[in-house]
């Protein structure tokens, strides 16, 4: 092994920088899952009967399903009875009415993470619905948004305050029968965010949620539902980071987006969950179902994601293009280092006429990382004039990582046009030496190369998010060429 490789290994081997715990008391339901636990969760959240019934139906359906095995990821079996399905910070019971009432320990945690709560949020123009251990603790700017008629609140709150909206749209994009993890989520989801933009309104600020997994052995089951009514617009940011942890943590979120006629939803994610240590120990299992429904004509849904964390990522943000002339977009940067595994991609389901979709996927694999793009473009018989453009690029750093591409294309309408482009490039010692001989450190060189590779995706992120994403990639990958 050359000294350059040694140096590079050191750089790749950097430990997770966001690793720390907070010592809040939590109110945790006993481990295991049965109908009583589902009822208990529903009762704790004081839910109306329809919610409890829906959860129970989902639970019963989940019992009939088997964990999916088709993806390229491998992991030890998950013991679903060893997981505690509900935990809420104790301070919740006292009901913090404002930031002043919020546990200062919690606020310090957010501070360490750089979450722009308090005044910083106002300056940054970001409204934060902070989800901490399954329950929303603080929601800022809600009143300001409410004046405009925008509903932006925790899912629990939405169930209480807007049960009709929840009942109308919950499960309408991702039904509880959709897949194993979606069924599980539907049965036990603890909280999440809810957003409704009334007709013709352009949401004046970026809506943002920060997630954090922080209770030992507590699976996280977030549920997000965003409805953009006719002619409205909303941009939503989701950012995640988690503390250092030894045990694997299961995360199975569901995100549903509904865009009615002429509405537009932009959904951006930066995911930085604990990926496991450099030997592949620990780390979060992230099995997510994200789907948008372009229900109305001329509607538009875009997913932009930067995935750097988790031991396992299993995630396919998709768009159902029902409305005529609707547009679906998916832009993704997925990075795997050490022993991380990612099986991610998208599904674009063209049903309406003249529907368009664009897929840009950038996969980066380093160390012993495994990166798979899995994408489906389906053009139904009804989708006259449908068009898709897919670009799928892989970047390999070093020679112990792997990248795979699994494009599935099903076209049932002869007027459709589907394009697929794919490239794979490897960054090795030659590139590194070339940059070094121009005065760049190995860290700067890798960061430059990776950011160059990802710029088509980063340019779609809001400014602050793009900066955060670049930093994340820098930290996750510095010098990983050998």
């Amino acid at each position: 092994m050359t000294t350059a490789e040694l140096r590079l290994e050191d750089l790749i081997g950097r430990d997770y920088r966001q690793g720390f715990f907070t010592t809040l008391e939590t109110d945790t339901v006993r481990r295991g899952l049965d109908e009583d636990v589902v009822r208990l969760i529903s009762a704790k959240k004081n839910e109306p009967a329809f919610m409890c019934e829906w959860r129970l139906k989902a639970f019963r359906h989940w019992l009939t399903l088997a964990e999916p095995r088709w993806s390229s990821v491998t992991h030890p079996p998950i013991d679903y009875q060893a997981i505690s399905y509900y935990s809420a910070p104790k301070s919740r019971k006292d009901g913090p009415q404002s930031l002043a009432d919020v546990d200062p320990e919690l606020l310090r945690t957010y501070e360490k993470l750089g979450v722009p709560l308090q005044e910083r949020a106002l300056l940054a123009g970001v409204a934060v619905d902070a989800v901490f251990d399954s329950v929303s603790v603080a929601t800022t700017f809600k009143d300001k948004l409410a004046e405009l008629g925008i509903v932006f609140c925790s899912f629990s709150e939405a169930v209480q305050e807007h049960p009709d909206l929840v009942r109308q749209y919950l499960g309408s994009v991702v039904p509880y029968t959709d897949n194993y993890f979606a069924a599980l989520n539907s049965a036990v989801f603890s909280d999440g965010s809810f957003c409704y933009i009334p007709p013709g309104l352009r949401c004046p600020m970026e809506l943002s949620t920060y997630f954090r997994i922080n209770a030992m052995n507590t699976g996280q089951f977030e549920r997000t539902l965003i409805v953009a009514d006719r002619g409205s617009y909303v941009s939503y940011l989701e950012g995640c980071t988690a503390p250092m942890r030894d045990e694997n943590q299961l995360h199975a979120a569901v995100v549903e987006l509904v865009a009615l006629d002429d509405a537009q939803i932009k959904y951006a994610t930066v995911q930085n969950w604990y990926p496991g240590d450099k030997d592949g120990k620990g780390g979060i299992y992230n099995f997510v179902t994200k789907r948008g429904d372009c229900r109305g004509a001329n509607s538009r849904i875009s997913w932009t994601q930067v995935e750097t964390g988790s031991a396992i990522t299993w995630k396919y943000p998709s768009v159902i293009l029902q409305g005529d002339d609707s547009v679906g977009e998916f832009r993704s940067v997925a990075l795997t280092n050490h022993y991380q595994q990612a099986d991610t991609g998208t599904k674009m389901i063209h049903l309406g006429r003249n529907t368009k979709s664009t897929i840009i996927s950038k996969g980066i694999a380093a160390g012993h990382g495994h990166n798979a793009y899995r994408g489906l473009v389906r053009v139904a018989r009804s989708a006259y004039g449908a068009r898709n453009y897919t670009q799928c690029d892989s970047l390999l750093l070093g020679d112990t990582c792997a990248a795979h591409t699994f494009p599935y294309i099903e076209v049932k309408n002869p007027s459709a046009r589907v394009e697929h482009e794919a490239t794979t490039s490897r960054i090795g010692e030659d590139q590194l030496f070339y940059c070094q001989s121009r005065g760049l450190t190995p860290e700067d060189a890798v960061s430059m190369i990776v950011n160059g590779f990802c710029k088509d995706v980063f340019k779609e992120l809001p400014m602050e998010f793009a900066v955060e994403a670049q930093k994340l990639l820098g930290v996750s990958l510095e010098g990983s060429i050998g």
């Binding site: 050359t2 960054i427 030659d430 030496f433 070094q436 001989s437 121009r438 005065g439 450190t441 990802c454």
Partner: protein, 260 residues
């Protein structure tokens, strides 16, 4: 500026070191242009890459002093910041990175090292445009990925462009003339000639005399079997062109005999 004494070095293939340089001596002063010539496999490129810090080469004996410092201790990026520039024989492609980004990063790395303020995108562009014109390069090349899809001539010109921007103290050009047609050779040679200055030393590694028609060197060295077999003035290059490298062995034997 550069003092190489009794340098022994080889390539590390992971299991053993295959020796290439066997006791090379070379001294280069500021303001001088030295041509290093020699047949294939004589160690010319090894010398060039070793001076830039390529780490697959191992020094087994001897020393290299650059501006009074032990050059061999420095990683490649510190050598670059201290003013050493290597124009690559085979410039490396970097997918996804626009040429202008690399130029900006490189210029700013060197400027920061010198204690100068970093240049922003607009200043860099103004600086680059000026040099670009001189090198007869299309501005579109700035926005393409570094060296990707560049023709042989474009790659070499791009190296000289980088050199012109980085203003090195010691420029080492590794067969920058190879693979160029006559027009491109003229442009590249003019680019190099424009860099000649009393503060700067230039080492031209080349097979052929033709580059030296444009840039007349102060000294010419012939490398054979890993050491300098012959040194002389510019007339030596012309003699080589006439008589070929085969002549070097006998000539060097005679001269060594004469000085002994």
């Amino acid at each position: 500026m550069l003092d190489i004494v009794n340098l022994h070095a080889g390539i590390d293939d992971g299991t053993a070191i295959r020796p290439i340089l066997h006791g090379l001596d070379l001294s280069v002063k500021a303001g001088e242009v030295h041509a290093v010539m020699g047949p294939n496999g004589s160690g010319k490129s090894t010398l060039a890459q070793l001076l830039a810090g390529r780490d697959s080469y191992r020094v087994t004996a001897g020393s290299v002093q650059y501006l009074g410092r032990n050059l061999l201790e420095l990683p490649p990026e510190e050598r670059a910041r201290a003013g050493i520039f290597l124009a690559f024989q085979y410039p490396v492609e970097i997918p996804g990175v626009a040429n202008i980004y690399l130029l900006k990063a490189a210029v700013n790395a060197v400027r920061t090292h010198r204690g100068e303020a970093e240049l922003d995108a607009i200043d860099i562009l103004a600086l680059v445009r000026d040099k670009l014109k001189f090198m007869g390069m299309d501005e579109a090349l700035l926005y393409r990925a570094v060296n990707q899809g560049f023709s042989g001539g474009e790659k070499k010109r791009n190296e000289i462009l980088q050199m012109a921007l980085l203003e090195p103290k010691l420029a080492i050009l590794d067969e920058t003339d190879s693979g160029l047609d006559i027009d491109a050779l003229k442009i590249v040679a003019d680019g190099i000639a424009a860099m000649r200055s009393p503060q700067r030393a230039i080492i031209l590694v080349t097979h052929y005399q033709r580059l030296l028609d444009y840039i007349v060197p102060d000294r010419v060295h012939v490398l054979a079997q890993g050491r300098i077999a012959l040194s002389g003035g510019p007339e030596l290059a012309q003699e080589l062109e006439r008589r070929g490298y085969g002549w070097v062995d006998t000539a060097s034997a005679t001269r060594v005999g004469a000085t002994a």
